[in-house]
Symmetry: D2
């Protein structure tokens, strides 16, 4: 089986990471690559690390260019995917790496994005309860946000097991690639090296409703989420520190058992041995997730921490994993659990 | 007035930062400098940034060497300060930059440090209620830990104003200098660059009881603290994200007013204008503290965030500020609120 | 004596560093601050590390705004200084931190900058032979480029002593602040962290003729300069590795003696003890220059290496040092030789 | 064909990178893994990024443990490989990633390493003239040093084409992993972040004779090498800036033609299009080499610059590439030319 894949938005960080992974995928042939302001340029000038594609030239993002592929990946600014997807036909697998189709609740979408809701597609986080089945054979996939990927995998086992109160407090640190490749003063190397700073504090980050959606589904009740993202001086990686008060009767043992059970058979989620904690460097360039959990008896809180690569498992790796499921390929095909460290 | 100062532990990061500040202090003359394994070495080889002291040679840390000074700063591993302080006499100002005399509760000390409690000295965080008065004229000062400095200044106004429930959830990121200069594999540049990782998760960090002590004093009731420290890929700086549930009737306005009031006249604490958030780069090398606070109506939580330089306000700057108060000098003498950025 | 200073271009990195230094200068009072696209904004939003100036608002860069000061610093894009200086009158000290007045040779200027030559002002690198005298009492100062500062101080003693052949090969690494604050894709934190890359290779960098000018003056003959600048993953600092073939009869001893002599009385240039090498971290935020030199007998080359802070000694510190000389103040007033490390 | 491979020294950076590559190699089965001080520990604690090997336990480095494999990789401190290799028998492929067998000249070895010379093995840099043939079918391989890899590939085409004078001046920047995993104070994250510094200046670096050997072979005459290595604030990567005076008659065109010819068919060396320069980030985790070359007419010098990943092409990737040749496998099997960026 050879899968012909097009990538819309090939000049950005998400598109570049996707191409890195597709180049290593044994069943994928890379077709059309598009950009917008970068159309007409050699990929070698825009993504110099993708040596085998150096001489490819970016096309405009049009329905004609994207036609004739088995899979089309959309790495576009939010609000643009629906119009493109519409023209691709129901038989083409469309994997949206943007936000447009992640949320089930139209009101949530409108409150956070300020535009009409485009719809809801199967959610590309196979590790969540029920998600894998919905992805198998699907022709549409909404790839999760990077923070929701890290946070949901850190916390959902506590909620499915009924161990945690429905109020989660989450602080996450992200590498700068999460903020994209458009040049802005606060993202300059001079500004970010040596600096940690928060942003979107107080519930304003657009990934918050997605976390609420995932954790609430796991809990069977609405989970309130206090989420504070911070920008860290590194190009990649998310470390998510997630805590929630434990319900009555919870012990260190019941917490450990819930996580052992949740991740016993997950190929990409690695529950670390007790005493070892996640580090973003360990999953650099990898589709793996490191998870660890502790129960703090003094405060009666569960503390679950995960590390992912925001561009791999948090974006492009999740997209490929979902594509594999949608096409009936082995879920892990072309994906690695090995980080590039140090 | 010329103050003759000795520094025990001049080869480490705390000692080096203290010397940097003392060199800029108009009333201080730097006397004896001591080390242990480094005794006999030129300071120029150990602290090459301290050009004016390059030819000083470190002495052994003995009572004889430290005698005859107006102030003795102790930057020693915990457990060693009491024995040294004992020999210095009651008329010498002793400023302990270690942990030995910070905690009021002997049981807390023993639980976290596993050795007998040495005592309790006036606490060198002048911004806390009552602290300034206790420092004025004192001959003994316990300099706070770096994390408790950042956390207490972020959260105490919410507690003194009766706005927050007594359960704080805190996640802080620290630069690597907080872990000291002793070479350990996980502190190698190769390991820390590009990586965020937690440590001491689940209540184990020794700075936790100090935070509880400070916040409980502000609240007038015991405050439970869930504290997760993380190591960030930068040499200096702490960003502390501190949240607590709001009490009934709290609004964004009452929160803002409490912080405005607490910090209206504090020379080193800068409550940022609304919409601007702290960044560690802005206080690099400075004794300033950037604070911002938000009220998240959706979760009814107060989110207070502070940025400090862990070595300056978090250690050596706090020590000099306290020395000034103890000696009756202007509190800010020799200290700067200007960061070295970018 | 109180010197009233205006700064044109206060929102950039050079302007910000200058303000950091002027705030610490005992004889300077900070007057007008101007920007262009940023006029009307609070400095606290643009330079959040300059706490004492947070509430200052940037004015437009006009002759009226800049009038009435004792000193006007120009931190403007090249080509703009002459027009501004013209309106300031011959009695105002004008310190140009841009390139406009550095080169003596109009043809060099036109070849590298492509515009008419504005003129030549006394050159603000007091350590060069004859430079100090030309600066004393001058009303116009051209602050050197950051690379020429590092390179000239590393190599000129070898040329004045007649030890080196007139062909220098220089490779320098600079922190990203040298490239300024205007956001460009290749300067994003995501791009620069973890990466070293060259630029302006093969003689194209505009600082090359300035190096040739300085080294040729020292040598008494034209020195050819092969200069390769590289961008390093750090916000500040220049490390310049400069080599030249030794003339007949040169020994390690004659080289060492020449540098000892050149820098015996220079307050800001520190010739390191043999065996110790410069590091940019040691001069972070400082006006000091670390220099070391070796003679490689196997290749018969002199290797001189310097470290500076590109924004301090390389720009704003050099400007203040020159201002002090021009105004008859002690040369080092308000300047520090102490770095902020680690 | 399944190749069973043992790795002696699996806990260090070279060993870890080798395992990362071997895990992705379709014909290799990973056998014994040994350490010294780390024997008995889980690999998951030492190399947490190598998830598939997390439960492997390190054995002692003994002949018994290493017996019975098709290939044995030695990632040992220099001076230890000969004794181990001796016991492995002539039919086992031994790939030494240390220095012991790189130099042809025993006097060079003794001058730089101070111990008896162990011998000379086929040199694992297939791109050098004649090297590929010597590696095919060989049972012994000496993997080049990381700096000589970068430098030789940047400069050798200029020498084989007779374009350059036999005096090269080289300044290279290396990431910190090149200095290994043994904790030393100057390698702490606090020390290296934000700092560039040279070391081994003046001909003292042990990689110098290896560069001389390679370039002299290409030139057909002895090439003198002035080599200055610098430590850069990044975990991986080498940027080598290499210059030499051009011989009479050399033009930009003859230089370009020589490099075009040398690298037209090399799978791992990518001569960049004119105007684009190497960046270490582009080859992060990749076996590719980026090369660019310029001719500076003003100084009549050739400037050749290369970027490699010091751990991949500079160590473990070179080892795998050589293993492939030695075993008759396709040279690039299991190796990637795609970097992990940003």
């Amino acid at each position: 089986m050879t899968v012909r894949a097009a990538v819309a938005g090939a000049s950005g960080y998400a598109g570049g990471e996707l191409l890195r992974l597709l180049l290593a995928h044994p069943e994928v042939e890379i077709g059309a690559l598009t950009g917008n302001s970068n159309a007409g340029q050699r990929l070698g000038a825009l993504q110099p690390h993708l040596l085998p594609l150096a001489d490819r030239v970016l096309a405009e993002t049009t329905a004609e260019v994207l036609a004739g592929h088995d899979v089309v990946f959309l790495a576009l600014p939010h609000g643009q995917s629906a119009a493109v997807a519409e023209h691709l036909g129901p038989d083409v697998l469309v994997v949206d790496m943007g936000a447009d189709f992640r949320l089930a609740d139209a009101a949530d979408w409108e409150a956070f994005y300020g535009s009409p809701h485009a719809g809801t597609w199967p959610y590309g986080l196979p590790e969540l309860p029920g998600a894998r089945a919905a992805l198998e054979g699907s022709k549409r996939v909404a790839v999760p946000g990077c923070y929701p990927t890290a946070v949901s995998l850190a916390l959902y086992p506590a909620y499915t097991a009924g161990l945690a109160e429905p109020e989660a407090v989450i602080v996450a640190a992200s590498g700068t690639s999460g903020a994209g490749k458009a040049p802005k003063p606060h993202l300059l190397g001079s500004e970010v090296m040596g600096s940690m700073s928060p942003y979107g504090v107080g519930g304003g980050h657009r990934h918050t409703p997605e976390m609420i959606q995932n954790l609430s589904a796991a809990a069977g009740e609405r989970v309130a989420v206090s989420f504070t993202p911070t920008l860290a001086p590194m190009p990649r990686g998310i470390l998510a520190t997630c805590t929630a008060a434990a319900k009555e009767g919870v012990t260190a043992g019941t917490v450990r058992a819930a996580y052992d059970k949740a991740y016993a058979d997950e190929p990409f989620v690695h529950l670390l041995p007790e005493g070892q904690w996640p580090a973003t460097a360990s999953v650099h360039g990898s589709n793996a997730v490191q998870v660890q959990v502790a129960y703090d008896a003094a405060t009666r809180r569960i503390i679950a921490i995960s590390a992912i690569d925001n561009l791999t498992k948090g974006t492009a790796g999740g997209a490929v994993q979902s594509m594999n499921l949608a096409l009936g390929l082995p879920e892990g095909l072309g994906l690695s659990t090995i980080g590039v460290a140090p």
